[in-house]
């Protein structure tokens, strides 16, 4: 019983590679991490597609409280619009897809926020945060940081230990995404809600206005998209099949398969 349970717990970074079982199939990601990962993936795609559709109806960005086609934008996206009101330089207007896009955007936002809360709470209680996300003691130095970056820049294949837990750059990136980008994208999203800001005006005033919130929301979304693209590239470099299997079945596979 006890032996079986210990297999279910993801192994920490402290596990030396020699201690990793060579032929035994071992849990790489806990069931909760796997389920929340894929729900988040689906929600991100839904938010991305619907977010793009919403932006198309007004591909201009402003700073401050207000902005419209009669005011000077901070910048414009060089794309056609789904509204005739917006001067884009294109001779045509795209079909309006805002209705379902807005429904989907807010539904996916709810699901991803609740999923994220479940993940954070469980990460705190199971030790996932401490063991797998916060950099290990030996990694908390500038030298370790620069070494890790150098390894990455040379596109070196991940070490044996990294098949079992995240390396320092991964940890810092995940921490940044989970504790900086996600809260920021939720905050700037709420700052655009006329009802929510009536109850909590600081949500929007701290950002300098509703149009500023919209602009920041756009850039934070771009940062999240960049993270996802790099994440997928890294998964491919590290071994697409084994990493996908680890995130779907939880099994890291055998030593032979990983190398």
């Amino acid at each position: 019983m006890a032996r079986l349970e210990s297999v279910q717990v993801p192994l920490g970074a402290c596990v030396p590679s020699s201690a990793a079982p060579v032929t035994t199939v071992t849990s790489r990601h806990s069931a909760l991490v796997r389920v929340t990962h894929w729900i988040t993936t689906l929600c991100f795609l839904a938010l991305l597609v619907s977010g793009v559709e919403i932006v198309i109806s007004h591909p201009r960005f402003y700073w401050g409280e207000t902005g419209n086609v009669l005011t000077t934008p901070l910048f414009k996206l060089p794309i056609p619009s789904s509204r005739a009101l917006v001067p884009t330089g294109y001779g045509y207007v795209l079909p309006d897809q805002n209705g379902w896009s807005r429904y989907l955007h807010f539904q996916a936002a709810w699901v991803v926020v609740l999923t994220g809360l479940l993940y954070i709470v469980s990460a705190l209680f199971t030790g996932h945060l401490r063991k797998n996300l916060l950099p290990g003691k030996p990694d908390r130095s500038l030298r370790a940081f620069s070494t890790a970056i150098a390894h990455h820049l040379r596109f070196e294949r991940p070490s044996e230990a990294e098949a079992w837990s995240y390396n320092m750059l991964q940890r810092l990136t995940y921490l940044f995404v989970i504790f900086i980008l996600f809260p920021l994208v939720i905050w700037t999203g709420l700052a655009m809600s006329p009802a929510f800001v009536s109850a909590v005006p600081a949500t929007v005033t701290l950002l300098g206005g509703q149009q500023s919130a919209r602009t920041i929301h756009f850039f934070v979304s771009l940062a999240l998209l960049l993270f996802v693209l790099v994440h997928v590239v890294m998964v491919c470099l590290a071994g697409f099949r084994s990493r996908m299997r680890a995130m779907i079945t939880g099994r890291a596979g055998t030593h032979m398969e990983r190398t």
Binding site: T66, N98, F196
Partner: protein, 252 residues
């Protein structure tokens, strides 16, 4: 392995039972307190219900931000409007002297008001933002009579739950719950920035509620109906917006 599976099965079963009964209870409480939007059906019902219910609990009495006169947009954008119909053009030719707002449904004294009558009621103004679902916005001073005052004049029944409002354009109608209908910033608006409300911005009479997106602030209002159910209006989704794919509740 069998032990583990059985334990997991039991725990999972208990969790699922608790979850389902919890959801059932939540749905009953939500219905009891009017926290379910009329367009709660379909695949996006979950998100819509969560948004509407949480904001109803959070924002029942909150006031939209009001701005300093110096923040009023120099040119209040008049958004595109569908071509105005013959009825509107006739009234416009007469300087809107014959424009009427009829109020009926669950009221003690159904009435029809002229613009002059509405102007004779206590006038209020608010400098608030109009925010379009597309992303643009402007700030203006909106002048009008609070909807709550008109509802007081006609005397609404205690079981009233929604106010449905209609534009002179028959395809354009919306509805709001009583929390929004009685909210102090919900106006029947006839003026803007010290002048009459221009036609491009919804004149001569526009519903204005700054805590929801612009499409709930319907232009050219001619009729209000007070009701306890939205089922008999259009397709029963609450307003014309869900019928064209947009959410009924637009507080986001």
């Amino acid at each position: 392995m069998t032990d583990l599976s059985r334990r997991k099965l039991i725990i999972g079963g208990l969790a699922a039972t608790a979850g389902v009964s919890g959801l059932g209870l939540a749905a009953r409480i939500a219905r009891r307190y009017g926290l379910i939007p009329p367009d709660h059906g379909g695949i996006y019902g979950l998100g819509e219900t969560l948004t509407y219910a949480s904001q109803r609990l959070l924002t029942r009495h909150s006031l939209a931000r009001e701005f300093h006169p110096s923040q009023i947009s120099k040119r209040p954008l008049a958004n595109e409007i569908p071509p105005l119909n013959e009825a509107f053009k006739r009234l416009q030719a007469g300087g809107f002297a014959d424009w009427r707002l009829s109020v009926n449904g669950m009221v003690d004294r159904p009435a029809s008001f002229s613009l002059a009558q509405l102007r004779s009621y206590p006038s209020r103004s608010q400098i608030t933002q109009l925010q379009c679902e597309e992303g643009w916005s402007y700030i203006a001073e909106w002048i009008g009579v609070p909807l709550s005052h008109v509802l007081e004049v006609v005397g609404i029944h205690s079981q009233a739950r929604f106010v449905v409002y209609f534009s002179i354009d028959p395809n354009w109608w919306e509805s709001i719950d009583m929390a929004d209908a009685l909210h102090p910033q919900t106006f029947l608006t006839y003026g803007m920035n010290g002048n009459e409300l221009p036609v491009g911005n919804g004149g001569p009479l526009r519903m204005r509620l700054p805590r929801q997106l612009g499409y709930k602030s319907v232009k050219f209002i001619t009729n209000l109906t007070v009701t306890d159910s939205l089922k008999s209006f259009g397709k029963g989704l609450g307003s014309a917006s869900p019928e064209t794919g947009y959410a009924w509740y637009a507080g986001i």
